[in-house]
Amino acid sequence: MVVAAGTNRIDPYLIPALDGVAYGLLVFVAASGLVFCFGVANILNLAHGLLYAIGGYTAAALLDGGWPSLALALAVGVLAAAAAGVLLAGLLTPVAAGNHLTQALLTFGVALAGGSLLVAGFGPDDPQVQVPAALDGSVVVAGHRYAAYRLVFIVVAAVIAAALYLMVRRTRAGMLVRAAVDDAEMVACLGVSPARIRAGVLAAAGALAGAAGVLGAPIIGPGTDTADTVLLLSLVVVVLGGLGSMAGTLLAALAIGEIQTLGVALLPSAAPFLLFAAMAVVLAVRARGLATRWGAT
C-alpha cells in the first residue's frame, strides 16, 4: 500500500521531470557557449541568443522528416552560427579590449539587426519544426507516453556534454581554455593574438549555440522571442553556475530545466518567481565566494 501510494505521488511528475532534463541539457549546450565567450574572451555577448536562433531557423527550414535532412540542418546550422560568431568577432576588433560596456552595446546592436534579418528572411510567424519521422511518435516510459524525440535528445545532448567535458579536460585547446578562465593575462603572454582568440572563441560559442538551436528546435523552437529567451536562460545559468567548472554549469542548467518544468507542475501559482528564487538562494548560499572568484577572472 505504502509503496503504491509513493509511486502514485511521484507518478504525475515523471513526465515534467523528464522534460526538465531535456530542457536543462538543451540550456546547458546553449549556455556553455556563453560561458566560453565570457570566461575565455571576457566578452558579454548579448547576441548569443541570436546564434541559437540561427540554428533554430535553419532546422525549421531544412528539416523534412528524414534523417539526411537532420544531418544537413545540423551541419548548416552549426556552420552558419559559427560564421556569425566570427563575423561578430570581426566587428568587435576595433573596440578597445576590456571595454565591456562598448562590447556589450555592440553585441546588442548585432542581436537587434540580426534578429530583424531572421524575421525578414523567415517571416514573422513562428515556423513549424518537423522532427525525423522515425522519432515523431511517442514511446512508453514507466507507463507513460513520452515524445520519442525528447528521449533521444536527452541521450544526444548528454553525449555532447560528455564530449565537451572530455575536450576541456583532456585536449590542449581545452587546457588553454581552462587557463584563460583562470588567468586571461597568462594566455595573452603565450603569444596568441587576442583577435584570433576572440574569433576562435566566438566561432566555438556559435557552433555550440547553433547545434543547440538545430537539435533543440522541437523544444525551444525558433520564433521572435527565441533569442531573448535563450539569452536569459544562458545568463541565469552563468549567474547560478559561475565560471569555475563545467559541472557547475551543468548543474545550474539542469536546475533551470527542472524549475521550468517540474517546478511549474508542482507550484503553478509560484511559477513566475521560481527562477528568481533560485538565483537568490544560490547567490545567498555562496554569498561572497561567487563574487571573489568572478572578481579574480
Partner: protein, 339 residues
C-alpha cells in the same frame, strides 16, 4: 579656457532644451505630446542608469526592473490608494527602491561586466514575471484604462495630453534637480571617489558596499518614480515597455551623454528613445535592423563616451586604476624617472 567654453556651451544647450521642452505642448499635436511625455519618463530612467553606470561605476542593464516595479505598483496599488499624482509617485518610488534593495545582495558584491550580466538577468526575469503573473499584471496584455490622476490635492484631473506632459516635465525637472543637488554632497563625492579607486576608498576607512547599496536603492527609487510617470503618460502599461531593448537603448543613450553626466544622460537617453520611436514610425518592419546598425555605428563613433566609466569596470584584482605618473613638470629634478 576650453573647459570654460564647454561649460558655457553646455549651459546654453541646457537652457535651450529646457525652453523648448516648456513650450513644446503648445507647438506639437496631442500624439507627439504623449510621446514626449513617455520619452521624458524614459530619460529619467536614463538618469538612474547614469547614476549607477557613470557615477557609482556599476554598469547596469537592469534599471527597467525598478522602472517596471514602479509602474505596476502605481497602476495596481497607487490608483487604489489615491488619485493624487504625488502619492502615486511616492508609491512607485518606494516599489522601485524595495526591488532595488532586494537585489542589492545580487548586484553590489559583483563588479564590472558581471554587474552588467546580473542586472540584465534581473531585468529580464522581472519582465518574465510580469508576463506570467496574470492575476495581478494582466499578463502580456498589460493593464489598460488606468484612471487619470490629479497632480496634487485640490487640483483638477490631468485630462489632456498637454497637461500630462507638463506634469511629467515638472516631476522630471524636480527629480533631476534633486539628483544634481545630491551629487554635490558628501554622497556624490564618495561615489566619484569609489569610481576612481575603490581599494583606496576602503583603505581610507569607508564602507564602500554600504555606499554602493545606497546608490543602488536611490537609483531604484528614481527609476520607480519614472514608472509612475509612464503610467500617467500612457495610461496603459505592458511588459513590452520594460524589455531588454529598452535597457540597452538607455545604456547607449547614457554612454552617448558621457556616462557620468546627469544632464548628458537625460539628453542622450531622450535622443536615443526619440530616434527609436521615429524609426518605428517611418520604417515599420525594418526599424530593428536600422536601429541595430545605428548601435554598431554609434559604438564605433563614440569611444570617448565610454572611457570615462573606467574605475570599477575593471575587476578589483587589477591594480588600482591610476594612470601612470604624468610627465614631471621639471625634468631636472627627477632624473630617476627617466632612467
Amino acid at each position: 579656457m576650453r573647459d570654460e567654453v564647454i561649460r558655457r556651451g553646455r549651459g546654453a544647450v541646457g537652457a535651450l532644451v529646457l525652453a523648448g521642452l516648456v513650450v513644446a505642448p503648445w507647438v506639437v499635436d496631442d500624439y507627439t505630446a504623449a510621446i514626449l511625455a513617455r520619452t521624458l519618463a524614459l530619460a529619467l530612467v536614463g538618469v538612474s542608469v547614469a547614476l549607477l553606470t557613470g557615477v557609482a561605476g556599476m554598469p547596469t542593464l537592469g534599471q527597467t526592473a525598478p522602472y517596471a516595479a514602479g509602474a505596476y505598483a502605481c497602476a495596481v496599488l497607487g490608483s487604489q490608494i489615491s488619485d493624487v499624482g504625488v502619492v502615486q509617485l511616492a508609491v512607485a518610488a518606494v516599489a522601485g527602491a524595495v526591488l532595488a534593495a532586494l537585489t542589492v545582495p545580487l548586484v553590489v558584491p559583483a563588479r564590472g561586466v558581471i554587474v552588467l550580466m546580473i542586472t540584465l538577468a534581473i531585468g529580464e526575469l522581472v519582465v518574465t514575471v510580469l508576463g506570467r503573473w496574470r492575476s495581478v499584471t494582466g499578463g502580456t496584455d498589460g493593464l489598460a484604462g488606468i484612471a487619470p490622476v490629479r497632480p496634487f490635492w485640490g487640483l483638477p484631473v490631468l485630462a489632456t495630453d498637454q497637461a500630462r506632459y507638463l506634469y511629467t516635465l515638472i516631476v522630471v525637472a524636480t527629480l533631476v534637480g534633486a539628483v544634481l543637488l545630491l551629487l554635490r554632497t558628501r554622497a556624490g563625492l564618495l561615489l566619484r571617489a569609489g569610481r576612481d579607486d575603490e581599494t583606496r576608498l576602503r583603505a581610507s576607512g569607508h564602507r564602500v558596499p554600504l555606499q554602493l547599496s545606497g546608490a543602488h536603492v536611490a537609483a531604484g527609487a528614481i527609476a520607480g518614480a519614472a514608472g509612475s510617470l509612464l503610467v500617467v503618460a500612457q495610461q496603459y502599461i505592458s511588459p513590452a515597455d520594460f524589455g531588454f531593448d529598452t535597457s540597452a537603448l538607455l545604456l547607449l543613450g547614457v554612454v552617448i551623454g558621457g556616462t557620468a553626466s546627469v544632464g548628458g544622460a537625460l539628453v542622450g537617453a531622450a535622443l536615443v528613445i526619440a530616434v527609436r520611436d521615429w524609426l518605428f514610425g517611418v520604417l515599420p518592419g525594418h526599424a530593428p535592423l536600422v536601429l541595430g546598425a545605428l548601435f554598431v555605428a554609434t559604438v564605433y563613433l563614440l569611444p570617448t563616451g565610454v572611457n570615462r566609466a573606467r574605475g570599477r569596470l575593471r575587476p578589483p584584482s587589477a591594480p588600482a586604476s591610476q594612470p601612470d605618473p604624468p610627465p614631471a613638470r621639471d625634468h631636472a629634478t627627477v632624473p630617476e624617472l627617466r632612467a
